[in-house]
């Protein structure tokens, strides 16, 4: 994963985190009786979403790089 890709994925992960927080405050918080429990659960959910996104992105980028390397290798082998 290059720095550029990591930057992109990290930025989007942060946006996802904030998005989950907003969504939670709008829709889910009223389902909880205790506010601090709600906030705790919210942060956990948001963190999971953000990290999950980042990890998926990372895997995807690594796989893509492998594929590209394999392609180059096969071209070199042909020559």
């Amino acid at each position: 994963m290059t720095f550029s890709q990591a930057w992109d994925a990290g930025f989007k992960a942060i946006l996802i985190y904030v998005g989950v927080v907003f969504g939670w405050l709008i829709f889910s918080e009223r389902l909880f009786e205790n506010q601090s429990v709600s906030v705790a659960v919210m942060n956990v959910v948001a963190a999971i979403c953000a990290v999950a996104f980042f990890v998926r992105r990372r895997r995807y980028c690594i796989a893509e790089r492998r594929a590209a390397e394999a392609e180059v290798a096969s071209i070199l082998a042909e020559i």
Partner: protein, 285 residues
């Protein structure tokens, strides 16, 4: 496209075009007309098209309301802002177009600040300038509230993203080969930029300057919030024609005409280049 043209269709086409022109030009025409009307021809129903033209409204706007003062402020603020925007913007855009600095992320960041609604940051701006204006440096640079520097700085910040966006497309249109060979001839990078690239990009830079100038001239919110009297611009000046007795449409029309006339003339003169500039390189040709 060389399809055959039928007469009725052509008549329909020109009829529609006349309607279109009417819709877009009439409000401006009406504004100019109203500015020339004597008082007794303005608040009448039905609207009057024939009257003895008078310059009384202009006299009222210029002499009683000192409207040229706002024009002077606007001119100072928008011209200086435009100069800064064009210089900073050209350097940055060149770097984006040639070296792809930041691999698209920096450019995204800069463009995304264009999406920022001015109103969302106006309060912090207001408070920052209030504090800065109290310091010696701020006073020296006229950065306090109701001072020219504060407005200039705001306009530079808010017009840079758009200018960079436009300029990048112009710089991309300039073939790299020229720069490359100039470099091989032993010119430094800065010299290449100054002697080869910038002259070639001059039309694009001019277009960007035109747009920036128009946006600065027409800006309202920052001028409204950040100025009171000494640095007010035309858009705010026109608002001052609201009086407790109601709106005096004659003087308002005169002031509005003075306020928009410079940009109207300017746009008419630059029209051909603006259209090319507006397509951001999305149109080749």
């Amino acid at each position: 496209m060389h399809e055959k043209r039928s007469l009725p269709l052509e008549v329909l086409r020109y009829g529609l075009i006349v309607l279109v022109i009417g819709f877009f030009v009439f409000p401006i025409f009406w504004m100019v007309l109203t500015s020339l009307k004597p008082d007794d021809a303005i608040m009448v129903s039905p609207p009057r098209f024939l009257f003895t033209p008078t310059l009384e409204n202009y006299r009222h706007a210029i002499e009683d309301k000192n409207f040229l003062f706002y024009i002077r402020n606007t001119l100072i603020i928008s011209v200086i802002s435009t100069v800064f925007v064009v210089i900073l913007g050209s350097l940055a855009a060149y770097s984006f177009a040639r070296y792809n600095v930041g691999d698209g992320h920096l450019l995204f960041f800069i463009l995304s600040t264009k999406m920022m609604p001015a109103i969302a940051v106006i309060l912090p701006f207001f408070l920052i300038f209030r504090e800065v204006g109290k310091t010696g440096f701020g006073q020296f640079m006229h950065l306090g509230l109701d001072q020219h520097g504060a407005l200039i700085l705001s306009y530079v910040v808010f017009n840079l993203p758009f200018a960079i966006w436009l300029l990048v497309s112009f710089f991309q249109d300039i073939p790299r080969e020229l720069e490359h060979s100039a470099r091989l001839d032993g010119l430094s990078r800065l010299k290449v930029l100054r002697k080869v690239t910038l002259p070639l990009a001059a039309p694009g830079i001019a277009v960007t300057a035109v747009f920036t100038l128009i946006f600065c001239w027409n800006e309202f919110l920052f001028a409204y919030i950040l100025t009171r009297k000494t640095a007010s611009t035309v858009t705010v000046g026109v608002e001052s024609f609201f009086t407790l007795q109601g709106i005096l449409w004659g003087p308002v029309a005169a002031a509005a005409t003075i306020a928009v006339a410079p940009m109207l003339v300017f746009v008419l003169a630059m029209q051909r280049y603006m259209v090319r500039g507006l397509t951001f390189g999305a149109v080749r040709g």
